[in-house]
Symmetry: C2
Subunit: 640 residues, 2 copies
Amino acid sequence: MKNRKVKVLFEPYHKVVEVPKGTSLLEAASQAKVYVSSICGGDGICGKCRLVVKKGAIHTTPTTLLSRDEIQKGYVLACQSRVVKDVEIEVPVESRPEGEKILIDKDAQRFRAFYPIAGEKVFFKHDPLVQKLYLELPQPDLLDNLADHQRLYREIRRHRHEPIMQSGLKVLRILPKILRQNQGKITATIGIRGRTTEVIQIEEGDTTPHNFGIAVDVGTCTVVAHLINLNNSKTLDAEATYNSQRVYGEEVTRRIIYAELKDPDKLQEAIVNDINNLISTLISRNKVKLNDVTALLCAGNTTMIHLLLGLDPSQIRREPYIPVSTSAPPIRAAEVGIKINPRGLLYCLPSVSSWVGGDTTAGILTTQIYEAEETAMLIDIGTNGEIVMGNKEWMVCCSASAGPAFEGSGVKHGMRAAEGAIERVKILDDGEVKYSTIDGVKPKGICGSGLIDSMAELFKAGFINRSGKLNPEATNRIRERDGELEFVLVPASETETGEDIVLTRPDIENLIRAKAAIFAGASILTKSMGLEFDDIDRVYLAGGFGSYLNKEKALVLGLIPDVAPEKVQFVGNTSIAGAKMALLSKETLDKTYKIAHQVTYYDLITYPGYMDEFMSAKFIPHTDISKFPSLVKRLKLKED
Amino acid sequence: MKNRKVKVLFEPYHKVVEVPKGTSLLEAASQAKVYVSSICGGDGICGKCRLVVKKGAIHTTPTTLLSRDEIQKGYVLACQSRVVKDVEIEVPVESRPEGEKILIDKDAQRFRAFYPIAGEKVFFKHDPLVQKLYLELPQPDLLDNLADHQRLYREIRRHRHEPIMQSGLKVLRILPKILRQNQGKITATIGIRGRTTEVIQIEEGDTTPHNFGIAVDVGTCTVVAHLINLNNSKTLDAEATYNSQRVYGEEVTRRIIYAELKDPDKLQEAIVNDINNLISTLISRNKVKLNDVTALLCAGNTTMIHLLLGLDPSQIRREPYIPVSTSAPPIRAAEVGIKINPRGLLYCLPSVSSWVGGDTTAGILTTQIYEAEETAMLIDIGTNGEIVMGNKEWMVCCSASAGPAFEGSGVKHGMRAAEGAIERVKILDDGEVKYSTIDGVKPKGICGSGLIDSMAELFKAGFINRSGKLNPEATNRIRERDGELEFVLVPASETETGEDIVLTRPDIENLIRAKAAIFAGASILTKSMGLEFDDIDRVYLAGGFGSYLNKEKALVLGLIPDVAPEKVQFVGNTSIAGAKMALLSKETLDKTYKIAHQVTYYDLITYPGYMDEFMSAKFIPHTDISKFPSLVKRLKLKED
């Protein structure tokens, strides 16, 4: 009875799957299409894939990542557990993707809401990458006997300066019939392919009113798509989803390893499906025909773009960190399975390097650092934490390897900016905790802005010291569990999960590590140019925090350099903003290539002095508080 | 028993095919893959598809195209005959394709032999459209961390000026592995695509010695292919075959009609198969690997190129004669099913118009008319008879609709330049006929140069008068058959077929019509520029006549303008010569686009005065012999 199958029931989804005896619970969940959080991709080291066994027995490997209390309640790590007989499993709230549906709706609204902050319509010429031209070709006669193909080009050139044009056989094969059946009245769809303009489609009559594009932010965690009317630059709708590659690892590196050692196609399939689902939602909701979507532009980090295009990402994680391409060519979207007009084009924004991708290029574009007189710093707090510094004369950048702590990963009750996430926290003088959640519902966990707030407030209240150590004398909210101190942010009575929402010692250490990495990166960039923080005229903070980020508290935490708060500007998701701008303007797309080329990348891991900077930054706000003169003044800090 | 099948045996091939009762013999032959001549494509009007019924009965439509004698011998027209019971058919020599195998071998030699006349190696820079570059990319490190893709471009640009480059995902997908497994030592195959240079292939190590291209003359009758070493411009081998589209009609117009009304795919399939067969013969004979053939360049008339690329040719035959394209884009050869390197490129030389194609562009290129001070005329005597006149300041051209008489079609014993074709004819003072055949074997028929010789000699001997009328008083070789006069060129006793080889009255009329069309075209072009024939400094005669053409006799016939014989130069197959030059030089390919653009096309059918010119030219040499002053002097001609 070797391959005997057993049944696994996943609650609360009522999903049953039959798998061979010995299958891991993580694999079973994947087969049942039940999402279970996992950062390490199944190596038993992140402790995120927590499930509760309700009925039946399981074989599980001992782990230190679950508390005695949790084990007694039936908690197991999905990747470390194998099914041996029929079993009933509960997916606890913290392991759920916060409800795909809820996120999609709310995030879409949120992205719509904060998008204009990133500077829509500000500074680019409307000249979309794919355009429709209505043409009335004069009827040929013996004196004007140009061939259909050349006649078409001549007519296009009467409207536009297009020195280099091309068109495939598929267009030429239908051209004569369409021209003659419509007395020369046709619509040509033209798209930019490098230095060449391609006639990608010919349609009967005037179809120019129907030309749509989709801008996509291909994030490691979330994928955001905006549907755009290419005729007038208007954003018609937005939609977001989790990147379903997460089941293969939450971190970029994990996914590279999965692609390298296991199956790169699965990762491509996952992101292509995500994008196709977003497109299909957007077009059906807005009554747009698939055929009228002629262009898709993706901004994403270098690995995401490699996985999307089916390029081998394996060298990205190995010194000297060489990607296959930092500037992939425009291709037909269908070539990677993306479902828009079958001859529609897919563009990807160029990367600077393996670890500074097209999302950062989009950020530089959106914030206009590359053409400003003043010196600015852009800090994108996402899975990695890319930092760019510069002005129109020079730009330097780095990737801080901060990890996804501020996106809620590696933090026990961390979560992304979605319904029920604690996004603001204040600790009153009497030690009372005030908080607010996204959409005002009962809290489920803490998102990035809530984590920054919490850390700054814990410090200001004296509940943690400069090295992040919890002081159990300071408040009775600090307690011991399994031999570790933790801070109870919200008691079980007030939460959606019915459990206390806490910040543990490892959580605090993770967050300090993440902020130290970012600060050290900012510090290295500044020093590399022989400058001081005082020389920074503006700090742009980007990232998927939702609509809210408390700049003051980011300063207190030492996440960003100590500059006057008015110099700090929260710019939201610059990746999608830049993607839209490039999609809507050939000139702007060209700029992104120049930008990606102009920025000098520093690899922090091998950069002299980075480790010292990082270690020094592992304090709140920093070992050397003289780096935070204004903060010292405001908070009356003293040297330890 | 509606669909009862009957058997048809074709001799001398011993091929049997089973077809439904009522199938035409032409269709049955096609299914048996037995080639039977046909000009009209099955409409019963050309009288070329002659077969002999040896055993069994056939239903046949009465025809005036067979003589009583022939009918008694069992001759039928294949397209007008339907099989009703098992039947045994003999394909007579005149209906055979002169033995595919023989032609291929002999023609290949012939083309090799006369090719240098067309000016190989004369005036182009060696810079093939597809090249292999051996590269040693420096190993990346932290300071030189360019992505593989951009590193490749940088290295290519160290060798060559390539401002605009592109490469598809297929190349990018294999690039990192090949680079690392070979320590950066790779060979990049780069090909010209419009203004862009594409990296079409990456190979391990140094494969540069193996880079081959194929130049193809896609003729209406014959397809000629040359295998070329792209590294040194050397022609390694040549091969020729009949264009197997002939079963769908010998003339261009017939094929257009077939494509339009029946099945365009069959025509594309036929020519693609022909080209694939030529390639496969060439590469196996020369031990070249298919993968090392990276480029194919085709020169052909506009219709042939349309059919090859699968473009709709139907407007080519309708006023105002508009082709789909005069300048088709380079594509991947695999896109039309041509079997070379799967990423290899297919180029087609640009046409001037629907009726002046890339073969003529090749002729202009080869003869250098477009950059000469002197004024030249190029007359290409093929299926149509394209004429170009001009110099570096201006060029005009036309297509004379001469029909394929000089290629042997529409002439009872006409045949192409192949083994056994009579290629030289002399009539001695005593009326004796001297002739020589290709390869010196027993005569099977008369090829183009033999027809020109015969006509001129018949005229000079006084056997035909200026209007081409046979004079039965002049020689006993002129006899009557079925009420028509004919001239016995070779008696049955000397021929391969065991039949007399004759020139009939309709043959002579056809030939005069053909030469008149060409002369009238030449005349119109000259007049259109306000010039006289005297202003022509050089006349180039092109066409697949084999190695021999008697200029003097072409003058006597009035096929070409009366210029001093030393001004006339026979340039052979300029189509293949030009194709090779363009394949071997990017600069030359660029020139062909300029040439095609610069030439002004006159449509003769609608050109004022053309009909008068044509009618006046239907005499030997012309109605107005004052147009032939030198000839008049030499032959002591008098006005009628």
